[in-house]
Amino acid sequence: MTLQLGRHAFDDDAPLMMAIVNRTPDSFYDKGATWTEDAAFERVRTVVEQGAEIVDIGGIKAAPGVEIGPAEEKARVVDFVARVRAAYPGLVISVDTWRAEVGDAVCAAGADVLNDAWGGADPELVDAAAQHGAAIICTHTGGVTPRTRPYRIEYDDVVAAAIADTVAYAERALAAGVARESIVIDPAHDFGKNTFHSLELTRRLGEMVATGWPVLVSLSNKDFVGETLDLPVGERLVGTLAATAVSALAGARIYRVHEVVETRQTVDMAWSIAGRRPPRRAIRGLQ
């Protein structure tokens, strides 16, 4: 299915890189490296040069911490979205938020996608997306409250639960008026899930792809990689790329990443192994 991400359309066989841009002082990976607006803008410039089609701008870190109200969240992201929109008309701008109020404001400032990492905690977020012709990412969290850690959550079948919840969310977005080609589902590794859950979701990602909704995966440097390999943040790239390759083979369409170049290479390689992408330039044995 063709993807329509706000102003931008993509062919159905194109895997897309969504680069994470944090306007936060405390996110787990960059620890505030792009907290200032200029540093965040520099990060955008870098990932655009690296070929990312999408930036995902977030004003609140996912993990628990200092409470950030909607006014502060908007102060962090709305003007920044407008600045990026003006500088990069061809770039897809996604904003990582669960609040409808923030979603409305960033779409008015030029955002194309609302990335609801918290699985529809604010039921009016879909209305904001529909009203602005934006796309929406429908994630699975198992129903947890935003910015809480999973604690003793179990599923009869985590993949079935992820499919049921994200597809239901997608249908809700559709009913609210979001275009079918602008709805993406995301199993949300580590959100409401332990490491075993995230590994199983990766292993069985093909079942999510088989729903027909385009699938986004957000694997980058997450704790399920860290726990699987017993490696701290900063040493998880190889494990991230292994999970990326498995997800790409299954057919995930969008990759939310810290490392654009490495992920692109991994996805391109897996995409070609899957027979969905020709080699860049093959002549050996064929001349």
């Binding site: 992408r277 020709p278 080699p279 860049r280 330039r281 093959a282 002549i283 044995g285 064929l286 001349q287």
Partner: protein, 165 residues
Amino acid sequence: MIPVALVPGVLALLPDYASLEDPVADLRAACREAVAALGPRVRVVASTPSARRVGEHLVSAAGAEVAEHDPTGVLVVANGSATRTEKAPGHLDERAEAFDESLRELLAGPDPAGLAAIDTALGAELWADVDGLVALADLLTPAQRVDVRYDAAPYGVQYWVIGYA
């Protein structure tokens, strides 16, 4: 005499082996122009099934059809040595460049008698595909107009694309 074209049996010309960036774009363009001059029914002369496949693909890509009888043109699939460099398929053979130079003179003439007398044993040692070049002897006269559209060995294999009218 009906028009004749010579192209190399490069597998990278086949759609089965298409890359995102065409490694033989110039060669492909030259082949397209040469085959376009052969009319709607083209006989293909090739030494191997894969070379024939390349020839037949170029014919159909030109919008023509492959015809054994009563052709409007003949497409010969053949090429020089594949031992021109250390990275060539057959590695470097010091004799290859001179051998290809001798072929070049025969083709540019054209020299039908010389083409009929090509040293095919040496050609085999140099991984050349010269059967089609020998066959050209019966298809050409020395007076024909020669149009060399491609003459290079970009991947250690000597290619020519030549039209004869």
